[in-house]
Amino acid sequence: MRRKWISKIVIFFFILQMVIPVIGLMIFSIDNEGLFTLSSYQTLFTDPSFLSSLMNSLGISLVSVVLTILLVTPPIWYGYLYSPRILRVLEAMSFITFVLPGVVLGLAYVQFFSNPPFALAGTPTLLPFAFTLFGMPYYMQSVLNRLRHSEAKLYHDVARSLGSSNLRSLLRVQVPLLAPGILIGSILVFSIGMGEFTITQLTTGGSFMTLPIYLQVDFQNNPLAGAAMAVIALLIAIVLVSLTLGTFRRRKKRREAIHVNHSSVEQAV
């Protein structure tokens, strides 16, 4: 009556749909004309260009994360506690990236930032700003979710009613309270940074090698190594996202976990 087996078949096909390209890619990366090989991975980890592009990606992503935390956290926290109206405006504006996709933004940056004093096009300087912009809805929703679920306002009031100064409450109560939200939001911004291709290519003209840019070039020259790199990139992304969803965490109340995660993702997407 519940038709559970139909559900299972549906889910099986969905998993198949997501997993087939990944498995194909993995086989491709270890398949040397029918023979098993890990040479592509060896090549990769001895390839200085790969390592430098990996470092570039890590660096740019970290800068973006720091920028996002500094730029976005204080107004959200303040807005949630004291100015919900301005917060609402900010929330709505964070969705501007949905109508400003990578290509359009790239085109805009190339024109707008090509003349002194802002001759930034062609350098990686613009990237952290762009990644922050793309990551904003995700980051905002993670922190807001945390604010909503942790009764931040109540604790702020309690701390102050107990005689704590504003600053003390901020550092000793609010920051620890928000930390999980900040962490999840940061991982999401970091994931965006690690995977972004469009803006990077358009604003730097491919002169700045990040992981995706190098992957794109390398796959054409050396498909095996490129595939190995794609496997690594996918694994990084899956691990990062799993971290934000608490997939690895043990025994959390199921409904709650799923619900919270979905709603945060839903609001952010």
Binding site: Y82, L90, P101, H262
Partner: protein, 285 residues
Amino acid sequence: MRLGRLLFLPIFAFLLIFAIIPAFGVLSSSLTGTHGLSFTFYRQTFSQQYYNAFWTTTWLSLTSSVLAAIWGFVIAFALVRTSMTVLQRIITALSSTMANFAGLPLAVAFMATLGTSGILTLFLQQYLHVDIVAMGFNLAAFSGLFVAYLSFLTPLAVILMLPAVSSLHQEWEEAMYTLGASFFLYLRKVAVPVLLPSMIGTLGLLFANAFSTYVTSYELAGSSINLVPILIGYMVNGNVSMNLGLGDALSMEEMIVLGVSISFYFFAQRKSLLHAREGRSANAT
């Protein structure tokens, strides 16, 4: 307290400098010809090539997002009905990755799997004697992009639809049964009508997502298919001759399309009956 509002200053300045002003820059230069205000660029976008590009992009986005929305609805429905916690978590993580963060690697995975010398292509040829290339499947053409788009639109649809689907009360379905109705009548009379706003909203978002996809089509097809984002990208990359003004006009048109389809999403969210107070929430009143 007033002073606290200063915290908003940096972020609004940031949005202004890195989103709003550049967007207005695009608008103004799309309207600027050699002698001031001009619609030359827009006129150019109505030529055959660009008209075709809009048509192809729309058709590709529409077909793939409609299929993804329907398939995603079925999957979300199935997911809610199984009680396998671990599986649900893994699927959520996988979906979220594929939908939002896979981009280029996923495109590469498709080339490695379904390209002319892809693993699956060869497997089908050798073991099942199905030659998908001869059957007209081509990753660099509509058919290939359609399949590749589905691979990130479907998980996106699942993520978007799950909250709505899981807030369907099980009692509605059970009430249907005790009143004599079948599962399909439940779908037709309750589940689908109740979820319709959410489905339309999801469709809007999926369509916008597909319409603005650049990496996947760039990697898989490059210049061999005529899509709006690819054309805009080429204007910047200047592989041919830089024609920023035309790119700006195309961008404006794309932004209008995106704006319209995304407003479906926000509008539909307001309309949703699921958030109206009924059933279980009555306990709280």
